[in-house]
Symmetry: C2
Subunit: 537 residues, 2 copies
């Protein structure tokens, strides 16, 4: 009897692996908190003076770096403007406040604007005409995809016109030799995944929000997610973009080539710049073949050091088939059991690991996983574990990692941080934060993408607690900066974190970002109040 | 007896796989042609009017787009300048013409400048002081790494000061958990590979010029090479850069994080911009684990269509272990036999494929390769083949692909093109060019990276032949543009191809590149006459 069977007594069964890839589709049901205060950030606001560690500083340090700044002197939408939009986009110029409501508030319900007009273009030419008009009229524009962002980047802060990509949802081409997909920016990620799976390919990225998020938004925010460990970042997989600039010019860099060294790679400017430099209207992206076999192992470790050693061993022995290495701590498991009634499938321990393999030969993959498990069990790096190869069991194991966020929403108020650190440091932050906060916090929990050095640090409290927040921030940012980490690994800066940029970037870099913004959007109409700090706008 | 053995009767042996990774170290011995004309391009100059296909156009179309433009009005180096440099870099300010000779001419010996001073800084601070001084004095600077570029990008065109990174050759840090290496820009790629192999890692890129090229130059030119199919481009694997801007400001974006979404990703501006926007002084890069098993198969196909079908089958069956899929045509094989006395290991056929696998389990890899070979032999996609798992045999098979360039140098004069196309189109260009040129050309051959859609098209002639060149250009560029290809897949634009940029980029994009250049280097001192077309400078 092999390790697969011995670990949890579950026989290996033939599996319907593809349900795995839709496991995140219902993630958008988690609740947030509605605020009645317009243009006010409910979470992540901080009342202390911003302290700089070693990376630079704001010219004028705001007292509340996460809150909205004063409205900039953009024009206000007039009847003439609406008439123009209605002529350009008949039936697709939305002004009904009820219909605008969901587009004015972010998914976490922590940022709410009061835009009075939502535009739904279908073509690049329409986007171009909208921006040309808005730029001339000095009207601010908030580009919006699936509105699933977590940092207030995809909703208006004041009365910015919402430019939605929701009707730009056509696949343009797919080449089943090269695996290169070209599509409009408003295609929903899950729809693209389904389209590709029928053709024996997959998207190179997978996110909890896949059922709602748009590929254009994914690219604008340089989304990370669960497949980054295997397929790399969008900076490598996105091959081309079509972008409309602030003044309406269309920049067609929609190449479908793996290699192209003709001049500067302009598309990189628009990947991860959160719609502040241009509106992405189409994307070409390199898609991997659909793996023929997927396995998931859920393991326990008695220390984070052992977890790190397990990671090293795993990378060596699973090599090219490793597709995810995720972790959660015992506090997360307690919350899963307490609030969601999930059952821990293995014996209790301080750390839990989710390992996924994806490969082209199921027998080979199972043998590699077996050898790896035997090694880590024999050397006592891992104290217990279970393996799933069958779809529903894979899903059940994944839910222990995936539903931590949901479990946290039942704990009260949660302060959320998305931190990159050298991988050996990621849990030190959690432990240090526990010591630092003592009894002030109800819970300090850590989970995330070990394979990418990406920690999701969550601190809970029975209710919103300004004193607790003061104890967390800027402490957490200073700690991150001290270890040369990133204060936003994958979520971006948006509205909420824009003023914290100096903890991860030197002032020379931020100043250069400001120059790029001024060059591409001299009137600053594109997604104002986002990404760049207030002293740069 | 399995396919491995049957194919060529060679038994599988245990192998010393790592000699594979040094197979390119002697590639720099191939010869070029010296010209006595200063600042004149010997190859790739063309005498016909530049014709635009559909991507834009030059403001003022030069009659000879590949040749050097007139010298721009930079200052000339004075005794006072030399005194400054000698104080800053004692013993490292080179003015002896004999010592300068090899730095003034490119590897192909087709571009030669007449710089009178070569600076060899050791630190970023020294680079900063050099550029601050040169910018103030309006002195042009040509940054130079290993000087192995093929488009005249790494040598002065006139009297630009050569800023060499050759003494900036220190490894700064290596993290054996994350595989992240940080080093100075002047580290030689092969030295980094050896350093990493001792630590059970490899560089994510491998090039013919590895014995000479610098990592800073690799990044500046966004080098592709043999591992791109597996590990992706430098845009994904380079995690951080330190760059000195034209005015001497140091931009420290030397992050060692897999994920960092804090603001615009400025390092991308310097990847592939050929030293025209800043001088890269340090690099951090994500390195993969050293694979435990490597196999190479050399196969024959009777048509390019069958070769493409073999590629598709290969991607499906070899999946995650496929690390290279290269091809050469029968004309290349003839040249290898004729000039280098190499032996074709299989029966003669129109197309030959080199497939490499790299994985973590040799038994699994061999079984996958076996199954794949059985499939393509049974279905007659492949007519014959041989497999090597032992180091010297792997090297011998690779040399059939690697030494085509060398064989070509014995044929007379060679016109070289590095083209990206949709993979199903790459050989159509070779066949069309043969028809188009008829008896004018001695040989029209094709080889390259099928996996990346990258064709190396080479056209030979007994000697330099302006009439032949007129027949080739702009025909080859128009053909490429018609299929939305790239006129420079991995070599960059440098001096030689700068004016052909419009065949692969629209005029809006080129104009924006000009704005970026003007923003970062307003006096234009950094690597003038390179990358951007003459109407933008």
């Amino acid at each position: 009897m092999g390790i697969f069977q011995r670990l949890a007594g579950r026989p290996l069964k033939s599996m319907c692996i593809w349900s795995l890839w839709s496991r995140h589709s219902s993630a958008l049901t988690a609740v947030g908190r509605v605020t009645s205060d317009r243009a006010l950030i409910v979470t992540s606001c901080q009342l202390t003076q911003h302290r700089y560690v070693h990376r630079g500083g704001l010219g004028a340090s705001p007292s509340n770096p996460g809150a909205a700044p004063p409205r900039l002197p953009f024009s206000r939408v007039t009847h003439d403007d609406l008439a123009f939009f209605r002529t350009l986009l008949p039936g697709r110029t939305i002004t009904d406040p009820d219909l605008l409501k969901s587009s004015n508030v972010d998914w976490l319900k922590t940022v709410e604007g009061n835009s009075e007009v939502l535009l739904r273009p279908k073509t690049t030419e329409e986007v171009s005409q909208i921006l040309r008009y808005c730029n001339e009229r000095h009207l601010a524009v908030c580009p919006q995809g699936g509105n699933t962002g977590l940092v207030g980047g995809s909703v208006p802060v004041f009365d910015e016109i919402i430019l939605s990509t929701s009707l730009m949802n056509q696949v343009m081409t797919f080449d089943n030799i090269s695996g290169i997909l070209t599509c409009q920016a408003g295609c929903v990620l899950e729809n693209l995944s389904l389209y590709l799976e029928e053709r024996d390919f997959i998207m190179p990225l997978d996110l909890g929000a896949k059922g709602s998020c748009h590929i254009g938004g994914n690219v604008s925010t340089n989304a990370g997610g669960l497949r980054l460990l295997r397929y790399g970042s969008l900076r490598g997989t996105v091959l081309g973009l079509e972008v409309v600039l602030a003044d309406g010019r269309v920049l067609n860099c929609l190449a479908t080539l793996r290699k192209d060294n003709t001049g500067y790679d302009l598309k990189q400017l628009f990947i991860g710049s959160e719609g502040t430099l241009g509106v992405i209207t189409a994307v070409s992206i390199l898609c991997p073949r659909k793996p023929k076999a997927v396995n998931v192992a859920f393991l326990g470790c008695s220390s984070f050091q052992q977890l790190l050693e397990t990671f090293q061993c795993c990378r060596g022995m699973l090599g090219e088939i490793l597709s995810a290495f995720e972790f959660l701590d015992a506090s997360c498991m307690n919350l899963l059991e307490k609030h969601l009634k999930l059952t821990n499938p293995i014996t209790e321990c301080p750390f839990y690991i989710v390992i996924e393999t994806a490969g082209s030969n199921s027998a080979h993959d199972e043998e590699k996983l077996h050898n790896f498990l035997e090694e880590v069990m024999t050397s006592s790096l891992v104290t217990d574990g279970t393996v799933a190869t069958e779809a529903t069991k894979i899903k059940a194991l994944w839910s222990l990692r995936e539903r931590v966020t949901e479990a946290l929403t039942h704990e009260g108020y949660t302060y959320k941080y998305d931190i990159s650190l050298p991988v050996e440091k990621i849990y030190d932050l959690v432990e240090d934060m526990r010591r630092h906060l003592g009894d002030m916090a109800k819970n300090v929990v850590g989970y995330g993408h070990v394979g990418d050095g990406n920690l999701h640090l969550n601190i809970t409290s029975p209710s919103k607690d300004p004193a607790l927040l003061t104890a967390i921030e800027p402490y957490v940012y200073e700690w991150t900066a001290r270890w040369k980490g990133s204060i936003s690994a994958e979520h971006g800066l948006g509205l909420k974190k824009r003023n914290y940029i100096y903890y991860s970037k030197p002032s020379e870099a931020v100043a250069l970002m400001g120059s790029i913004k001024a060059m591409l959007d001299p009137k600053g109409i594109l997604n104002p109040y986002k990404t760049l700090p207030d002293n740069i706008h």
